[in-house]
């Protein structure tokens, strides 16, 4: 029921949209109907899915990179108050700077388009991972910390057996947010970098189609990107529940 409700709402909205377009006879270059969008997708599905694959490659690569570098940086910052005080403000600056404004420079400095997109998407995705993981590392139970100290645990033992598991739920929370951000970052980067041709991603195809007033095709791209974001979120959510199922409140089954 909980899953059917939003689905039913979506179907009703689509039906209303379809009806409105037919009743008022809106031309397709202004507003395509859901049926026209579906047809546009059906016609070039191979082409559009190829574009999606390119976008996905960048998104996933950026997310994985952000996960590792973000967690690593958070760990380094957690090891020294001085490092945190010195460097964390720059992580914030990275976060609040709109990546579009950095894109022109990256495009000049880096010739490989994939790398340009990767850098920009990585920049968009990394902050929630750094800040969440850092929070998690700092929230480790002080009594457990004492216990590790009492038993003479090495830095490595404390990091792997205490700090990493303590930070895991926070890290995964960050990852869920970053999944969406990596996709947004990739899309924005594609639009700014203006990639074209067979190796261009879905966002560049969306832009091209809109220039040519092929709105049905553009909206098919848009729908595909939205669905991708949703699937990405659901996958990360499932990963989080899987990893935390035995012990964390967020993954309680009943």
């Amino acid at each position: 029921m909980k899953r059917l409700l939003p689905l039913a709402f979506g179907l009703i909205a689509l039906a209303a949209w379809e009806a409105a377009i037919r009743i008022y006879q809106v031309p397709e270059y202004i507003m395509p109907s859901p049926r026209a969008i579906a047809q546009a997708f059906g016609k070039d599905s191979g082409d559009l899915l190829a574009g999606l694959l390119v976008t996905l490659e960048v998104t996933v690569a950026a997310l994985v990179l952000a996960a590792f570098t973000g967690a690593g940086l958070a760990f380094l910052l957690s090891q020294s108050k001085l490092a945190e005080q010195t460097l964390f403000p720059y992580a914030i600056i990275l976060q609040v700077t709109p990546i579009v404004t950095i894109a022109p420079f990256i495009i000049i400095w880096v010739s490989n388009v994939f790398v340009v997109l990767l850098i920009l998407a990585w920049m968009a995705a990394i902050f929630p991972i750094i800040s969440n993981t850092l929070l998690g590392l700092k929230s480790a139970d002080p009594n457990l910390r004492d216990l590790f100290r009492l038993y003479g645990a090495s830095r490595w033992q404390t990091a792997t057996r205490l700090l990493a598991p303590s930070a895991l739920p926070y890290f995964l929370g960050g990852l869920r947010i970053s999944g969406g951000l990596a996709l947004i970052g990739t899309v924005v980067a594609e639009m700014v970098a203006g990639t074209s041709g067979a190796r261009s991603g879905l966002a560049s195809r969306l832009l091209e189609a809109s220039y040519r007033l092929e709105l049905a095709r553009a909206m098919a791209c848009f729908a595909l990107l939205s669905a991708t974001g949703l699937v990405l979120y659901l996958l990360l959510d499932a990963l989080s529940n899987r990893l935390l199922q035995h012990w964390h409140e967020s993954a309680r089954t009943e």
Partner: protein, 246 residues
């Protein structure tokens, strides 16, 4: 003060950075193999004293001489809360000291002693409060530490379970004769378990009484109803009252 004590505190006091004087200067020596209880009103510095002995915090003044080596075979600590790792099974929690210290010990035996043999693979959240506390005790004893510090381990339990665990703990101690420093709010528990009860005054904590309890070992449940037992409890209670009035 004897030099072969398990731990010797000389003029040890603790003032926290917040300005709270948790412990007035304390002199205390505990002989090896003894079971010593610490009683006193809430907030008088019992936990602080235990953490000082464990070297988890440093004294503001005075010195502490310890006879045990650092690491799991030297010291075991049962905190006021179970303090288990929620992400690890009971067996992994109990085995933690062994894995950290690279020492050997029998996790299953420790679990069995605490009546948790069937819960080795359970996660802490699947246990009751009392079972979590028992897991915490199993962890503290698994490496057979020379010094066992226990901070109100049974405070959250009902009296029946508590008596049961008291008997278990005493049997364990009789078998191994570790040095135990045991903090409790319960005078009866202190008298039943210990050879010596240290009574503390309200904050800032001072030692206002040091009562030797000379009942034969092994002690049995029947002891709790004897006149001598009730008398000993009255003595400790009287000292606590004097400390409160002073």
């Amino acid at each position: 003060m004897s030099t072969d004590a398990a731990v010797t505190l000389s003029g040890v006091s603790k003032t926290f950075p917040s300005g709270t004087v948790a412990l007035a200067p304390v002199d205390l020596a505990i002989a090896p193999g003894r079971f010593v209880s610490l009683v006193g009103p809430s907030g008088c510095g019992k936990s602080t004293l235990l953490r000082l002995i464990a070297d988890l915090i440093v004294p503001s003044s005075g010195t502490i001489a310890r006879a045990w080596t650092s690491g799991p075979s030297g010291i075991g600590f049962v905190f006021q809360d179970p303090t288990l790792m929620p992400w690890a099974t009971v067996a992994d929690n109990v085995g933690l000291p062994l894995r950290i210290g690279g020492t050997t010990g029998d996790v299953n035996a420790a679990l069995a002693r605490m009546g948790l043999a069937d819960f080795a693979k359970a996660y802490p959240r699947e246990l009751s409060g009392g079972m979590r506390m028992r897991a915490s005790i199993a962890r503290a004893i698994v490496a057979a530490p020379a010094m066992l510090l226990m901070d109100e381990p049974f405070a959250a339990l009902d009296e029946f379970t508590r008596f049961g665990l008291n008997d278990d703990l005493l049997a364990l101690w009789n078998a191994h004769r570790w040095t135990v420093v045991f903090v409790t709010h319960s005078i009866r528990e202190a008298v039943f378990l210990s050879e010596r009860v240290i009574v503390m005054s309200p904050r800032p904590g001072r030692i206002v009484g040091d009562v030797a309890i000379q009942f034969d070992q092994p002690r049995t449940a029947a002891l709790r109803n004897s006149h001598a037992f009730v008398d000993a409890c009255a003595r400790v209670s009287g000292l606590l009252g004097e400390g409160l009035a002073a």
